[in-house]
Amino acid sequence: MKGCKHIQAKVILGFFMLFISIALMASVSQAKEVVKIGVLLPFSGPLAYEGGEVFKGFEVARVEQNEKGGLFGKQIEFVKGDAVDAKAAVSEAERLITVEGVKIIMGTFSSVRAFAATTVAERNKVIYWETGAVADKITGRGYKYVFRNEAPASKLARAAARFGAVVAPEMLDIPINQFRVAVIGEDSSYGKSVSETVKTVVNEVGAKLVAYEFYDANIKDLSSLILRLKVKRPDALIPTCYVNDAILLHRQMKQLDLNVKVFVGTGVGHNTGKLRDAVGDDINGVICSGWPSTTINPAYAKGLPGFVSVYKKVWKGEIESPHPFGNYSGAWLLWRVIERAGSTDPEAIRKAALAMDEPEGYQPIGWGVWFAGSDKPNAGQNIRPDWFVEQWQNGRLNTIWPPKAMAKGIKVMIPFPKWKER
């Protein structure tokens, strides 16, 4: 019996010795002639596709800048972190900061992951440069080191709601107080935050909100929800989906013959080629707020031609989704800020970012720059950008808002064609 006690103790002792030796191994990072920038994206997991697309944009920005000599004469190098889920995002952010020693992290597409990882950056006084996640709360905490280029979810929602609840009734000649709007969304922070604002706008403009429903993103069957909506006879449907539920929604709406006069999706689910590949021509007529595709008017988005050519060189293929271009613009902006800061020191970058004041047209995507200070409620938010609105026409995603961004010959198609008439 006593011997056993000692055995246990010794085994544990042994393990601790092992751990101590590991602990004493400090990681030594060589100082190289590069600028290391952390990239935290969902490279695997349910959002792997989108994460990959965002990375494509970042990579284009990196290659383009490196060809021009990099930053301060040093080449830019990415260090990747895989934000599989929120907890991993936290772990990876920790690793990037403490092991890899980066002073800047770019990312992250997903609101939940960004929300979690930005806290790590703030605590460690490391710059977090968000180019794609939209939840308003990310820049609602008075953080000093977190900056977000793209407009938040509230603007995404407003852009969609504008079309769904204002432009549409006008074009259809229906009085706005009789216009029936249904708002649905998947129930994660993305779906919820966008839908909340859509609901606010719908109420603001005086349209009739006939449905406000959420569903679990992993749902297998939306038929109950669709039937619930059918009873309400909506004129407009404004869904906030990820890709898989967008596909399910589309298919089941067609099966159950739920027709609406205008269909306005918001970002992610409805503006990638994946939906088109899954539902084919049934996608035509879908309106969607979010990133613009490459059909945007280059007079507005002056950086488009340059982006396309470098993209083709780096990735050797067609551009599949709107994510690369938008996030490329955010990355491009970061390089400009770093240049003005003169170094990658977070304090200098902060100052330079806050000092920036550029009008519309400055960024490749056409947006201006002005970051709110840390004393403001939306600290770190670039307040000049506003979301675009596109429409699927003939299998292509065409920009229809702002009017300046509409390419020549493009018109808005309302109403949304009936399923049986396709």
Binding site: K2, I20, L24
Partner: protein, 602 residues
Amino acid sequence: MSEGKNKTIKLLKANIYYIFIVIILCVLPLFVRNPYYAHIFIMFFSYAFLAMAWNIIGGYGGQLSLGHSIFYGLGAYTSTLLFVHFDLSPWLGMLVGGILAISISVAIGYPCFRLHGPFFAMSTLAVCEVFRILTVYFSDLTEGSIGISIPIRFGLKNMIFEHKITYLYIIIGFFSLAVLVSKLIEKSKFGYQLIALREDEDAAESSGVDVTRTKLKAIMISAFLTAMAGSFHAQYALYIDPSGEFSILLSVLMAVMAILGGVGTVFGPILGAALLVPLQEILRGQLGGQLHGLHLFIYGVLVIIVVMFLPHGIFEWLKGWILPWLNKLQILTPEMPEGERAREDLVAWGRAARDMSHEDEVILRTRDLWKSFGGLVAIRNLDVDIRRGEIIGLIGPNGAGKTTLFDLISGIIKPDSGVVEYNGSNITGIRPAHKLCHRGIGRTFQIVKPFGNITVLKNVMVGAFAREGAEEKAREEALEVLDFVGLYPKKDNLAKSLTIGDRKRVELARALATRPKLLLLDETMAGLNPKEIGEALVLIQKIREHGITVILIEHVMHAIMNLSDRVIIMHHGEKIAEGTPREVASDERVIKAYLGEEYVVI
């Protein structure tokens, strides 16, 4: 004075290795310079803590819970909401969360503990999912799926620190707490009873273990600890969300770590965590998310291998080959021999029965007892009187209702109608069985049920714990009983490694340790060879000499005829004859029942 000093020195010497470990734990954080490694250590200690918490109900108690994240999430959300809205220090919030977790654990445990094995597991999983869904749904309270970002306000009161070292110290403290709790449980009456019920619930009940209460106690402790970890993590990551806190994966990992390392041991879960954490962090760090899921895949395969080849977990297997190696090197201190067993006539366990000398003549009486199962009548109109100090033989063909009668008396089932009186009081329908055990009714089972995975001594100690509260006393009692039944030399063997005869003796010893006044023996002699039967006869008579009344179900005719004062014959649930062995042997009805019409000699 010097006696006190001597004792202290002895205590120190005995636990010298533990003291070493404590010192190392205190000093370790200072060596960890790199914050990333600090993070890995914090992860390790957290997971080890969680695995140990799970182990209390899952390992020692044998209830496979796959929904422990319920408590983790409750802890995290409670302390966080209280901190964010009311500025309540997370140290206090943690306690509140723990109490909430305890209440929920009782609410879940009470109905669900009736379920066994996978059903219990699935129900815990289902409840955890319900909590997750509700947390998302009631987003007004919990911020729903976007989660809660905890404001970065450093300070001890807020449990938010700039440097990881402080977190590391805190989690090491928690870790040590869990180790301490586990060790204390192992040595306590509660622990023995918990392990007993894991091995065999019915046998444990009959040996005086209040199974339901014990399980509830275990899950309460486990829930409290798990909730503590949830609160800690919230203050460490400064972000919580429903999927992260009520995570199925986390529930699963807690269980898997304990299983891999070795359930029901103190260090098994720690070992399990020691395997998982580096695997996870290194794979993630080095492969940068290329091979997502690899660590879990390896883990799943390991679980299968361990279950098939190392059923007691990796820790026991390691002990298995380290021990002989250390033996060889003579590093072990030699064991001190136990003192001579005192051979006393009136031993404590026998005293209870003797002390009954002034009590009722009739120790057990049944009147008009009926019991049916579905359409089958098992006990019919049964009247029985058993006097104190008798040895009664209960015989009859299979299906006569003998074991059912035992079950009715010992509180395993309830009669449909009729009365059972024991020692003057009405015990009809009293359940569960541990209550009858405490009143002095002990029993063995037709299919022998020792607690296989623990030693003979510990088996008997479970019985002793029905009367004693302290481990030392229980051990003493158990040793005395073992000596009495002749199993003393095998006291440290695992019960499942014994022969059938010895296993029956263990069961008997266990029952005796509960200080019964009435002992029900169900086919004790089945499967024994003639020599063993002879030994059993002697033993039972010695038991009666201690004043214990014995009722025996047997089929070994010559044994029961020799041993019994009186014999009761049952057939089709009825008593068809009763009397001395001689009287009964010539009774017509008996011969008809056993041998058939042809054998009746007029």
